[in-house]
């Protein structure tokens, strides 16, 4: 018997959707097990159709993206009402995502940059007719509604999404690993003697050897190991897009303390190596960080 599923996209890039589609021929096995009751990207059911379903009548709800607009907030709450098991799908959903970096600014500054100041704009105004309006800042979905399952990644790999769906379809638990990307990475690690951090265009990253050892900021050590180390495996530094492991309390704090321990550098010099600590250490999870919360509190904002 197929299980009813709803897939909803809040403000996001739709990459989680593409990742599901990238199961390719695997879709032929998965789709028949699903009775899709809402998935605007693929089927023609409207928001009103979802709203009209009885509460808790959908077995699985997958929510991609984060709440940048009030319409996103509404859709998230409807999904929570209608679905028995709600999955926060992807790093946007769990942590706020890359757009969480916008929490460094007030909404007014964001709106002015986009609609008033952009050099190509010929008739500035903030659109407001039949428009939902924006949230003041991005709040991770699990802080707005209860999410039963968390599946991080930007995006989660196709295999990650299949594993989570398979667990849900067979009533098995889906737990996140405490291991890191380093634990999955095939590069050879040696004792670290980092004397300088290089920017990624400098020099050549040598294949086969730990990228962090070579003095490039590779965040595998502070990032959840679910992706199979897909970037560092091909000499590309990990940017931390799957977020911290469940046992890390703050991603940036973990990164700073670890780098302090391995870099043979004065604290000021280390600090100077990272002129953009927020973007570098909280790539997809700034909205979930203590720093972002403090900024929100300073502004006296609720989501």
């Amino acid at each position: 018997m197929a299980k009813r599923i709803a897939l909803a996209q809040l403000s996001s890039c739709w990459g989680c959707d593409q990742s599901l589609v990238d199961l390719h021929l695997g879709l032929l096995d998965v789709l028949p097990k699903l009775d899709i009751v809402f998935w605007p990207t693929v089927v023609d059911y409207k928001l009103a159709d979802l709203e009209a379903l009885p509460n808790r009548s959908v077995h699985i709800g997958m929510v991609e993206g984060s709440c940048r607009t009030k319409e996103d907030l509404h859709l998230l709450k409807v999904m929570r009402e209608k679905c028995k098991t709600l999955v926060a799908w992807g790093s946007c959903s769990i942590f706020g995502g890359v757009q969480g970096l916008a929490n460094q600014w007030d909404l007014k500054e964001l709106l002015e940059r986009k609609f008033i100041q952009a050099e190509t704009v010929t008739d500035p105004r903030i659109p407001d007719e039949n428009m939902p309006g924006f949230t003041e800042h991005i709040t991770p979905n699990p802080q707005i509604v209860e999410c039963d399952v968390l599946l991080p990644g930007c995006p989660p790999t196709s295999e990650n999404t299949l594993d989570a769906l398979t667990a849900l379809l067979t009533n098995k638990p889906f737990d996140l690993p405490t291991k890191t990307v380093c634990d999955q990475c095939p590069m050879e690690r040696k004792e670290k003697h980092i004397k300088k951090f290089k920017r990624n265009y400098e020099g050549n990253i040598e294949a086969g050897k730990c990228i962090l050892d070579q003095g490039y900021l590779c965040l595998g050590f502070a990032t959840m190991g679910l992706c199979g180390a897909q970037c560092p495996s091909v000499t590309t530094p990990c940017k931390g897009c799957f977020g911290p492991t469940p046992i890390m309390s703050d991603h940036g704090a973990k990164i700073i303390s670890a780098l302090g321990a391995v870099a043979e550098m004065e604290p000021e010099e280390l600090k100077g190596s990272f002129p953009d600590p927020i973007g570098s250490f909280y790539f997809t999870d700034y909205a979930a960080s203590y720093l972002s919360k403090m900024r929100g509190k300073e502004r006296g904002q609720e989501h």
Partner: protein
Amino acid sequence: MGEEKTIRIDPVTRLEGHGALTIKLGKDNKVKDIQYNVGSTRFFEKFLTGRPMEEAPRIAPRICGICPIPHHLASVKAVEAAWDVTPPPAAVKLRRLMIEAKQLSSHAIHFYALAAPDFVFGPFADPAVRNVAAVLKHLPDVTVQAIKIMQFGQELIRDVGAKAIHPVTAIPGGMLNALTEEDRDKWLKQIPELFENVNKTVELAKTVVNAYIDVITKLAVTPTYYIGLTNNGVLDIYEGNVRVMGPDGKVVADFEPKDYTKYYGEHIPDHSYATHIYYKPAGYPDGIWRANTLARCNVAEKMATPLAQEALKEMRDLVGRPSHHTFVYHYARIVELVQAAEWIKILLEDPLIVSDDIKLTDVEPKAGDGVGIVEAPRGTLLHNYTSDEEGMLVHANLIVATNNNIAGIEKSLMTAAKQIFEDKALDSLKLPDPLVKT
């Protein structure tokens, strides 16, 4: 006499992004207003600032999970333009391989998963079955050929870009990851099957076009300007000049990416967060242009590859140049799909594609301003960044592909709505029997 009413379609489905449609009808079904309401934006222009500029190519792909490769590459090209960096030729070939692979998979997903359900089941089929899951059920062979094209594109991107969605290997000065000979050989072996599936797609597209020719040539035919990249007049999605064609088919501008502010106007509507990009010298709304497949096929004199050129010729014999037929976007998509497949073959057969000489080691950041343009599947994509002496990004302007189409979509919706509500076009248009009856 009828009553005034508002029809709201929310959300517009089989679409990537947040769109809704508002149609305001007066008495006697006169169409008073059409709004294409795009209800989300995430402010990348702002939060890209303050980052080391070489990080932009890793942030920008998150603008679109369906077309992250064009963002990755427009972004890295903007950084390189600002820092006066020219990547090695082999790196450029790898980048082109990636963007052609994306064009292939994106065009396949659009044709088969987003558009085909309307043509296979007919536009009046039950919404519950008018989707790709039903195509899978009723036409499994067609679904398998669609999936194989998509898979080819997505997995080839992964071999070059480390990730199929949000690739990471293009950096200022080149690429971080070479293509191995083993991987190259693996893909070369699959080329015959790819072309088999591409040919079947062309045949299916032609069948659909012929069956729906009355709709295609009569409904939503909307003259606009067109914008697209060409390389000396040849359709190119990675590099070249930006060309603009007027509604009468005359080329009105052909300019280098760095000069874009002279030609790009950005109208902010009161009813959409996605802005309306238009041809600035003609003003708004007269200068509304469209991008994407049909626009590229209109502005280009010819295709870059032989089979695609044959397909373009056949299309032009049927609908002319420029074609203002909105539904011909689907046909043009297939013409471009052929070019993407041929480019992939050419690149894989090029010995340089497995070269290790893919990255400069002496890139120096500096204060500068750079524009990077590529063609995303849905149109001309522009990233413009400014950096300070340390190479930190201090200013960004992004004109994403879709925004080139929003005003044009609205305009063609207005045309179609007038035909349907005022002229009762549905009573006279000839529709074929659905391929599959449900």
